[in-house]
Amino acid sequence: MTPTVVEVLDVTKSYPGSAGVRALDGVSVGFAAGTFCAVMGPSGSGKSTLLHCAAGLDRPDSGRVLLAGQEISGLREPKLTTVRRRRVGFVFQSYNLMDSLSVWHNVLLPQRLAGVRPDRSWAREVMRRVGLTGRENDRPGQLSGGQRQRVALARALAGRPEVIFADEPTGALDLSTGREVLALLREAVDGFGTAVIMVTHDPAAAAWADRVVFLADGRIVAELADPTVEKVAAQMTAVSAR
């Protein structure tokens, strides 16, 4: 049994405004270290909320979140940030790169902010793996969407995180570019032993994962191990029909 890197325990979360509607309604789920897990569900089912709570970007109303064994649901800023930047990497749909910094500076930024000496040779290796060698001095604005997502991935990997959270990482990309990014996420799991937790609504993307959990109306409603596109699509249809 591999140890869990992220443990979500009976987490509820509702947003002010949407009266009574719970974005997460008592969710408990664990994510094993060094595995690739996809989170699926219809739009508005609470996927992003789950990811944010699990990653310590947002605080749940109740319940606990353990990140690499450390309870983070009770932590406050800036402690939360310190924990996050040591253990976690992010790859989101909107890349979230600093436009005024070069690719290379973007990749090293989290380590610099953490006040540690950046591991440059590792960063160069990561850049090579994502296929961006030679683009170090470009600015994100000069890159294609797929290239930018690869910079974001390189940035996440350069800090040797235990887990990478990805929210619709292929959402803004075309089919083949999306596939390249998924392959890189897969490689991060297989090659570097990083856990990846990815939110997606695309069965083809989810099929790259080791395991898929399904959310509907803020609850976990199903789970699939060793998914294929067909199995995921069928399960999604079932979930959406509920």
Binding site: S48, H52, L57, D58, E77, P78, T81, T82, R84, R85, F90, F92, Q93, S94, Y95, N96, L97, M98, D99, S100, L101, H105, N106, L109, P110, R112, L113, A114, G115, R139, P140, G141, G145, R148, R155, G159, D167
Partner: protein, 836 residues
Amino acid sequence: MMRLALGSLRRHRGAYLGTFLAAFLAVALLAGAGLLLFSVLTAKPPADRFAATAVVLSGDREVTLQTVRKKKDKVKTKTKSERLTGAGTLPVDLAGRIAAVPGVADAVADYAFPVAFPVRGEDGAPVVGHGWASAALTPYTLEQGRPPAAGEVVVDADLAARGGLSTGDQVPITTRTGVRTLRVSGVAAPAGRDGLPAQGAVFLADREVPAVSGLAGPTAIGVLAAPGADRAALAAAVRAVAGDATLLTGADKVRGDLPGALPDYIGPISIFGFTIGITAFAAVFVLTGTVALGVRQRLRELALLRTAGATPGQLRRLLGLESVVLAAVAAVPAMPLGVVVARVVAARFRALGAVPAQFTVGVNVLVLGGAAAAGVLVTFVAARIAGRRAVRIAPTQALVETATAPRGGLLVRVLAALVTAGGAVAVLSFVPLGGPLGMGMSFVSSALLLCAVAALGPVLVRALTAVVGRLTRVAGVTGWLAGTVARVESRRVAAVAVPLVLMFAVNATMLLNSSLLGRLTADEHAARNAPATGQVTGPAGLPLDAVGDLAALPGVTGAAATLPTRAIVAQGGKPEDHPSQGLFLAGREAAIDLGVREGRIGGDDTFAASSYLVRQYGWRVGDEVPIWLADGYQVTLRLAAVYERSRGFGDMALPARLVAAHDPRGLVAAVALRYDGDVASRIRERWPALRVTPTAEAVRAGDAQNQQGAWELMVVISLGFTAIAVVNTFAIATAARRREYADLRLAGATAGQVHRMVTGEAAITVAVGLLLGAAVAGIVVGAFSTAQDGVFRLIVDPVTYAGMLAGVAALGMVAGALPIRLVLRRRALPAVADGR
């Protein structure tokens, strides 16, 4: 199109707030300044002392020159005139001849002359003396007592109340012919009130008036019509007899009154003219910058519209329409605010004495509408210019994270900068900054330099941030980030720095220049009076004849009496009036040192002039110069000397006797004495009313004091407006970067690190702004200072300078660092990380 524009406005409510605020303030200021100028231009005399008359004949009230130029067969006549500060007189026998004209019931010879009285009228109004016959012109009627006989006076009810006077009291009055103590024989008032607004009146026996006033004839003749007489026919008949006297009817009759008795709007007109100049510049400058910043921040949206099929032309129209809607909406609340601004400023100016106490702000719809239209127009033009390149943005830019407008236009920028900087250099080198235009022109040149800075902003800022940004690296990773971001985003830094440049340059220039002038004036005053042992002043001024007695006191070795006045000289057919002094010198030692550069002061029919005036008019010692005195009397005097120390003194030193005879006030303001021994105590003994001050206290002309106050108020307004512009620009820039800060947080920055980076960026922006601002101010102040006395100064007044630096820096830092705290606190991290 309209729907699209309105929709866009609604969606970007936050982003438009900045432009809205800028347009709102700009329109309010323009409206305020416009109303003030309009109100002084249309100010009516508060009362007509000639209300009962049909026609008024007046002596000269202005000097008018005509130049006739022949060009081939065309004859061009140019008429230029300058107002007198005194009143010209009419022949003594004219009133008698007018009285004989058919239809004339009576023709009253009106003598009007300023009187120093124990009390002044309402709001410090001057007291004017007349013969009792003049009472019929208004008319004033006796409330108690009887008409004045010789040695008696009738006072108006308002003065009587203020001075606690009643029939039988003794009251001293001072005119240029001396001090007299008269007995109050009665109290008179115009119908329905105690006195006329803006002038107190005292009436003497008609027989005594010529002697007391020192006037050669009446200053005006009031013609009372016989009952049933036809006014037009009467005026025509009077005109036939009047000779070259000016004939006034209707609302113009008041112009026959003593100029000093009417509120004077010449000073306020120039002050408000200048105010509107500064305001208009600052408003346009700030508004343009804000609109451009706003458009730049919406490039992505524009690109999205392009992908949706909008043509550049449509986008241009969208931007134009949007800006018009925005500015028009902003103008609605701005106009009432403008009225408030005008009222507040007017009240303050009244309190300072920079405008007459009777001055009121009239609300004129056309002026308000004009200000609103100007605001809308400026916003529209600025949006169109800012959008010129932006609308050609490629649709593909919509897909890119940060849309960038096509660059270029560098040539245009450089050209614009060259033209404006060239203009500034031209103004600084060719306009005599040492003269009365100096302050205004130094403002014009700093405005031009500011335009150059704005045009070249991004280029200048890139160069400066490269240097300044390097310095911030010592502050660790956040400093490094701030420096790098500032260098890359030099356009944005420029946009935010320019209001800081404006704030520092305009206000520092105004403050430093006026402080320099003040200091030079005080220095020259001190140097002028250095030879004197003491200064003698009277409560209301001294008649010139009294000076002889002072000078003759044993122990007095030198005396110099000064009578402030204004005199007119002409150049190229244009009469121009200049502050001057009547100067009386006595004794074997000099009691005043004017810093004579050439020639010698004194001698019959001569005068001395300041080196500024001599340069201005191209005079040489020995030249015969025609000069018009305060009452329009023309003399020709020989230029005998040129002096340097004219600040706070005047540009001409005229024979005191002439000034005493031709300036209606005609009193000595101060006598500088040089003496040994106990002269001071002997003076106090013999003339208890006189004051002897040992040190030369700065007896600044009242005028200069008022101007100074007005000037300071303008700096306050300008400081306020530019400060709001600074805060506004910073806020717009910060609001647009919310996303960037969230990205930083996602990359692992703590909130503290983001704050530090933002503070670092603000510090860079402030440093850049201050460097550029100091450069602009330095050029202008340096040139101004060199023009004053040949000394090049940059800082002038270290306290003011440091205060401005610190104030602008503090404001910039607060404005730069504060909005981000609000932004970061409000937004939950994930919401922004999603790009929501």
